[in-house]
């Protein structure tokens, strides 16, 4: 899928996205990219903030960075698990720098719809922001 096509698909299918990332520059980058594609983007920098937002607002997709500062990754998976339990139809994309297939399988087991390995083309990330399909990018 070309980047333009992916952008269009994201705009049509996923108007409302919650991004969880503790790195401000990453949040700004994703906000810019997703906004340009027509999505409405909300950013959270902490898992508890994201969980609080999800308690009161509806989203089509949740993008969670598994490598948050000071956390083991398990905490991120807990958010994924809670979000999946509470909102079965939510599209949950986990971002991680960890290429270990076992980690990716754990993400899917906790309820992630897809795993995006950092460093892959942004078009691939956008392609994952579509209706939940169990897949692991770059695996």
């Amino acid at each position: 899928m070309t980047q333009a096509t992916a952008l269009h698909a994201a705009a049509v299918l996923l108007p409302n996205v919650l991004v969880v990332d503790d790195d401000q520059s990453t949040r700004e980058l994703l906000t810019t990219v997703l906004s340009r594609s027509g999505c409405r983007v909300t950013c959270a920098e902490e898992l508890e903030e994201a969980a609080a937002i999800l308690e009161y607002r509806d989203y089509d997709a949740l993008c969670v960075d598994l490598d948050l500062r000071g956390l083991s990754g398990l905490e991120g998976l807990e958010l994924v698990g809670q979000a999946r339990h509470r909102w079965p139809s939510l599209n949950i994309v986990v971002q991680t720098g960890n290429g270990d297939p076992d980690v990716h399988r754990a993400c899917l087991r906790f309820g992630a719809s897809a795993v995006f390995v950092k460093g892959q083309p942004i078009a691939q990330f956008l392609s994952l922001l579509q209706p939940p399909v169990k897949e692991v990018a770059s695996c």
Binding site: C43, E49, A52
Partner: protein, 283 residues
């Protein structure tokens, strides 16, 4: 070093205060008898929404620190309000149960700002099944000793249940909007309201209907004998300056009063001037 989100939330000035009037609705024209202080998180952030702000605090197990920051911000702003207007403040039951210095904080903060604690009603909110019951009850006693009144918030939903009422022994029950909104057209809601009315009569508690947003519901609440109300029908939450400005406009009656036997006000916290005329309109 980069400050954490929580550190930024509790920085002085990060939390701002708005006020929503509480009105006496039974007799004559509606009168403002108190203002509830409402906190808003840092402007432009997701935490500006109070629901998300306090949910964030609960998930961080930091209810106490955020309650304190909110109350400090509200009391600072409340100095702009009429000096005899009763003030309502929200506090988590878990804060009272776990923060052994909270009552002292309220006493010192209000004293330093020249606000008499007899003007304060602490509205107890809780979202979890907290366990520090003994400490909580002791803190409530300390609050009352300090001259504050105690209300139970969100009655009818969540943890504001009979158990919480028995523990808290409030002199005011604030009925959650879930039971209030649409009461005019729902006989089950009306029956629930009558039951709460009966309960309040038995324990000599005042009743406030929250989330009143239309005249139809207001009329029904009057026929059900609910004395006090707040909601968008009267006023959205507004700054202290806006609220004060509205108090000096000509008074506007809300709805013709129905022939109901007047109830004597029971709570001692109401402003002793008999209330301020309602001028706030929805919007």
């Amino acid at each position: 070093m980069l400050k954490s989100l929580m550190e930024r939330v509790i920085e002085p000035g990060a939390i701002t205060a708005l006020f929503q009037p509480i009105l006496r609705i039974l007799e004559g024209e509606a009168k403002i008898i108190a203002a509830e202080g409402l906190a808003r998180g840092p402007k432009g952030s997701t935490l500006e929404s109070p629901d998300i702000l306090f949910e964030f605090a609960r998930r961080k197990n930091e209810e106490s620190i955020v309650d304190r920051a909110a109350i400090a911000a509200i009391l600072r702003e409340a100095r702009k309000l009429p000096p005899d207007l009763a003030l309502h403040l929200n506090v988590h039951a878990s804060t009272l149960g776990r923060d052994g210095r909270f009552v002292e904080f309220v006493r010192k903060t209000s004293s330093s700002l020249g606000i008499d604690t007899s003007r304060l009603t602490l509205e107890i909110v809780e979202h979890s099944n907290f366990v520090e019951e003994e400490n909580f009850v002791a803190a409530l006693a300390d609050l009352r000793d300090a001259g504050c009144s105690v209300a139970l918030d969100d009655v009818g939903v969540g943890m504001s249940n009979f158990r919480m009422m028995l523990i808290t022994r409030p002199t005011m029950l604030k009925i959650d909007r879930y039971l209030v909104s649409g009461v005019a057209r729902d006989t089950y809601q009306q029956a629930t309201m009558r039951a709460i009315r009966l309960l309040a009569d038995q324990v000599h508690a005042d009743l406030v209907a929250e989330g009143v947003d239309n005249e139809e519901d207001l009329k029904t609440l009057r026929t059900l004998g609910i004395e006090y109300a707040q909601g968008f029908l009267f006023s959205r939450p507004r700054t202290a300056e806006d609220l004060v400005a509205s108090l000096f406009q000509p008074s506007v009656p809300v709805v013709p009063v129905l022939p109901i036997a007047a109830r004597a006000p029971r709570a001692a916290v109401w402003a002793n001037h008999g209330g301020l005329s309602l001028v706030a309109q929805a919007g």
